[in-house]
Amino acid sequence: MTRLSPLSVPYRAVQRSASVAFALAFFAFTGGTAFGGVLGGLGAVALVGVAVLGIAGYEIAYFRRFEYELTPDTLDIRSGVFSRRNREIPYRRIQNVDISRNVAQRLVGIAAVNLETAGGGETEGSLRFVSYEEARRIQSEVARLKRGGKDGDAPEPEQELLFELTPRELAIVGALSFDLRLPGLVFVFGSTAFPIVASYVDVPLPTGSAAAAGVGIVALVLLVALVSWAAGFASAVLNYYGFRLTRVGDELQYERGLLQRYNGSIPLDKLQTLTVEDNPLKRRFGYATLLVETAGYAPGSDGTNGSGRASRGSEAAIPLATRDRVLGLVADLEGVELPTFEGPPTRIRRRYAVRYSLVLGAATLALYGANRFLPQEIPWFVPLALVPVAVVAGALQWRHRGYALAEDHFVTRNGFWKRETRVVPYYRVQTVIERRTIFQRRWRVSTVTADTAGSISLVGGDATAVDIEVADAAELRETLNGRLREALSARREARRQSRQAALGIRAAEPDRDADASDSGAVTDTESGVSETPAFVEEAEPTTAENEDEGEGGGEDEGENESEPEIEDEDEGEREGEEDEDEGESEETEVEQEADDPFIWGASAESGDDESDDDGR
């Protein structure tokens, strides 16, 4: 059991009493002096003192009653002064470990650690505060224990710097950021403060002509724009200063922030989709934004994100970088180059042109109607002059639409003003939806959406191929489904092999703990055992482990019983063949299974185990 950093007591006490004391002092003092003069003021001071003492006492108790421990399987936290809470978080469930330090914390050398699991809005594990070294140790220990490592036996994972924001890029991000919160705050504050101030000071109220008022409004708008731009610039610089994205083993780690440093980790296997976002301006100068989407992580909920960008995606989103670097990073993370896109058929250009023209037509009609009923003349035909613009806009929209089936990814691109290129690995596809509105049917096109389990998707769109030929859409629908299946079985195969390799190493010294903590154990070992008889014989000494696996592997035993010949042939093929063939052989396997009730029964057990373990 470990305690928090002792420094957290004074820090927390000061932090808390500062706010409480301020509020209390304000009310008590104004109230006290109003009622009891000097004596009341002294009473107020005493009250504040008592409150501060109480807070200090509470914080000491909090510190003494807060303990955490990194056990082999879970992170245990026991906390609570009045109501106690013991919480155990399994490492496999931990999605992110975030560390943050503001200026004061950095001076004192402490850090706040947040551990996030999927689901639930609140942070599941929160350590306030530990020393920075301890925070980093927790971060790396969680990552190591998640992999099922034992003390000391896992080599330090290699670090690879993926991305670093250059000062120039930071400046551009800042220049493009607007933060409306500060002007909003000033407005709210000003509107409430003004009457108070005005009651003391004789503020000359503007009494001028309409023109002067107009000038005033314009000046005000300009001022607001300037202030919000400055605030945006400041918050972007504060947030993204020193942004670095590193790959450490199988995790992404980011750090950023000028005054308050953020430092967090995102497991690579939790990545759902990548989105490259740009607009005409960014395209012109060759820049782009990258959004990284994970499941169930709602970052930015702590309200510390300035530009609002981070709260949309994840903390690992790259605010801005040259297009090449963004694409390079996509290639690094997902191993995919942006392919050439296949756009909607050419006639769709007309569809978009017609669509925009209809909007213009409606506007014209509305203006015409207004013209009829209003006393003065309105140039109602003006929108018609924009018809060429509609045609161009249609063509542009058409040109920026497209989809592509890369080797392992479904890639789509949509939008002209905000062009979003989404990269979805096939194995992340949840459902495939093809839809055709009544208007699309007239143009003989339909839209195919690959739904994923992301968090941005709730607000934005999923990867969508819009307005493609009906026949293509049906084919795409089936292809996506097929590729999902192939990708999944290829992943299973890969995991099985790595698993086998791991078992091969461990055959010398059986390691039960590590297996128990690995969710894939059931699926992986069951195949591993039956398919490498040689290995099983070798590993005979570690009987406990292998017997266990044998039980879990009822499915394979069943298959061998019913159709030993075919299974063996399958095996031979599978060993040497490419991924796709493996996918097919898996497919036949599944079908065979589906015909045999015994196998269902057997795999039902293992399936349950797995789903238990593996929900995000």
């Binding site: 939790k270 169930g296 949840q430 939806i433 093809e434 389990a453």
Partner: protein
């Protein structure tokens, strides 16, 4: 391609009728309390239009609906104005419900709802099954989902 049970039409048509009556009622109320006088045929016409359109849609919807349990996925097609075809791979099925609402029970039908972790097609529902059919479909989907042995569903 499997069709829904024909009795689902009763349900949908009944729903359309109720909706049309409600619309007619609202229109009637509006006529009674409106400051300007509205001819009496208006609420009737409103109800009638809603009735015709609603019943038409109910029947068309029945004709458009179809589902198929394929080797590796559940395939649905539906939609009157917007045709929607959905493929739900069994690997992605989180859980399967079979439900019977009070109205469904009246006509002796049930529906099966398939849940995935997706954000958009998170739940796919197949209405208009006989109770046995719904349970059978639920059972089949469950078994196929287990057999397809997905790794992490998210």
């Amino acid at each position: 391609m499997n069709r829904l049970h024909p009795r689902i039409r009763i349900l949908w048509v009944a729903r359309a009728v109720v909706f049309a009556l409600a619309a007619g009622g609202v229109a009637t109320a509006a006529t009674l309390f409106a400051p300007v006088s509205i001819p009496t045929f208006v609420p009737v016409a409103v109800g009638g239009v809603f009735l015709v359109v609603g019943v038409g849609f109910a029947l068309l919807r029945y004709r458009a609906w179809g589902y198929e349990v394929r080797d590796d996925s559940l395939y649905l097609q539906r939609g009157v104005l917007t045709k929607v075809n959905t493929v739900v791979p069994f690997v992605r099925v989180q859980h399967v419900d079979s439900t019977r609402g009070p109205l469904e029970r009246l006509v002796g039908l049930a529906s099966t709802v398939v849940y995935t972790a997706g954000s958009r097609g998170a739940d796919v529902s197949v209405p208009g099954l006989t109770p046995e059919g719904a349970e059978d479909l639920q059972d089949r989907l469950k078994r196929l989902a287990i057999a397809s042995e997905g790794d992490d569903a998210v």
